[in-house]
Amino acid sequence: MSSKVTVDPITRLEGHGKIDIFLNNDGNVERAYFQVPELRGFEKFAEGRPAEEMPQITSRICGVCPTAHHMAATKALDDLYHVDPPASAKKIRELVYSTFFVEDHALHFFFLGGPDFIVGPTAPKAERNILGVLGKVGLEIGKEVIGLRKQLRGLIALAGGKVIHPVLGLPGGVARTLSKEDQQQFIAGADHAVEFALFSLKIFNDVVLKNADYMKWIVSDTYTHQTYYMGMVDANNKVNFYDGQIRVVTPDGKEYRKFRAQDYLTHVAEHVEPWSYIKFCYLKEVGWKDFAEGPESGVFSVAPLARLNASDGMATPRAQEAYEGFFKALGGKPVHHTLANHWARLIELLYAAERMQQLANDPEIINPVVRTLPTETPTEGIGVVEAPRGTLFHHFNTDARGVITTANLIVATQNNAARIAMSVDKAAKGVIKSGKVDDGILNMVEMAFRAYDPCHGCATHALPGQMPLRVRIFDAQRQLVQEIKRDG
């Protein structure tokens, strides 16, 4: 373990963390706290700006999932201007959004989360990276992932203008139509994506599901929490990333609430802790009962596993098959194992690819009418999408000119924050014994939050020269006894 400080300006952040672990007299964990810094000032920044800038501006606050912010803000503008986009525009939006989902989930599985499972949780540090993954699955896969992402990013740019800061969504529709040639490109990309998703699931099946050790970790109590789950569903209660109602299920899998985005404040509240910048979301009507599991605690979870738990299935055939296999293998619904997020993510990858295929082949996608012009006076707008990392709410109030008076965003990781904090605490308690903490053990703790793919800062920003992750261990007298900086 190194205390060396390294400057790595290219390690762009998806939010960096700090874990403080307090030991008891026996050297076992009394409590572990996972802390994150937070970007400041979005609400203030938005005030006084035209609401129509929000899809562009909010997409700039996150270098990881700009398309999710763009889409949530665009939907909030539909609501704000009381306008319903034509079916063609909704389909173009969902097509682009599905494309983005494939790209993002593929990156996470192979590059970010994959090392934990394809290489293995206890593999030597030097192998737990993309090179280790490719060592296991073959170099060609690396080229395939890079090639697919390049193709999909090209498609997003084709429809949205820019990948990083898309300019697709307008209140009431989209900014451009798709030509027949564009449609052909999307069909080709979708076919490629489906093939890739099926292949990824096969790798997961061969490398992870057939490995008894990995499965033992996935279902172990150390990485398990019985909480509520939240996700967006369509009219048939199937997972939907772009539109639908928010459904919440209880820890035993029964529907607890189903509500429109506009009612989120009735159901979701935020709890503040003195030790964290993050506001912890919880179910308002259940109430905040500390970081606790079970039906009496308002803690809930979002993101892939939560979405599968909160739905009755997937709206596309092959993803539905995979969905059924998932619950069958893990003992029925709901699945409470945090590490199962990786598997759930691949099932969603397949759904996104199949959905992309459906929409790309839909004749309406090239309909030249792609906007309903807003005519009403703006007031208040709330939009929601499922971001890859979970449910994302955008809420704007404006004056009659459409100038923002108040803005509020609840990002995915905030919805997940309480359960992530619990996961880190529980994993630390499960793997740290008698005060022994080394790199391998630390990785087992990190795995607990990595499965959620958290994106705390919801922005890219300069890397503090210290670490993306700093772990401090305190003894029973609250004296700092060890500090580990994950500094590359």
Binding site: P9, R12, I61
Partner: protein, 171 residues
């Protein structure tokens, strides 16, 4: 497409995090015909595409080490960064990206320089650039131009050297 990539990283609406972006904008015209100047707010592996096909690259970014005065320019090469290992798979960084490019035989720059500006506030959305960062920007721009100039002066690449270049990705 030029031989040299100048990549400005950061986010212009988040206070000093925009330093790399503003420097890149100042360089776009100055380096016309000599280098491609690109801006990005993306991170980690998502940047990989941008490097493909270039011989040289200069990365301009903001850092906060808190170990030197704001406005200091850190001149680094990938060799100064720790090798292969990313801090965690979630934070895949440049060393890992370079190792991957090498492993996959991608058409990647043979030389990468990093100029990172020590900043004051990389966290406040809507915050303005701090004074020390504003004052340091012209020097940062000058240093980038100087580096690009050095490569230009080194003249054309001979045929033997070209043969050693790794094959590009077919996509």
């Amino acid at each position: 497409m030029a031989d040299t990539l100048v990549l400005g990283l950061g986010n212009e609406i988040i206070a000093d995090d925009g330093a790399g972006i503003f420097a890149a904008r100042a360089l776009t015209e100055r380096l016309a015909g000599k280098a491609d100047v690109v801006e990005s707010a993306l991170c980690g592996m998502a940047l990989l595409d941008l490097f493909l096909g270039y011989r040289h690259a200069i990365i301009i970014d903001a850092v906060q080490t808190l170990r030197c005065p704001p406005g200091t320019i850190h001149a680094l090469t990938p060799g100064d960064l720790d090798a292969v290992q990313a801090p965690s798979p979630h934070y895949a960084g440049l060393p890992e990206m370079l190792a991957l490019a090498k492993q996959l035989n991608l058409d990647f720059p043979q030389e990468i320089n990093i100029l990172a500006l020590e900043v004051v506030d990389p966290y406040t959305i809507g915050g303005a650039l701090s004074e020390p960062v504003k004052e340091a920007l012209p020097e940062l721009v000058r240093r980038v131009e100087e580096l690009v100039g050095q490569w230009e002066d080194s003249g054309p690449v001979d045929g033997n050297e070209l043969e050693k270049l790794p094959a590009g990705l077919s996509m």
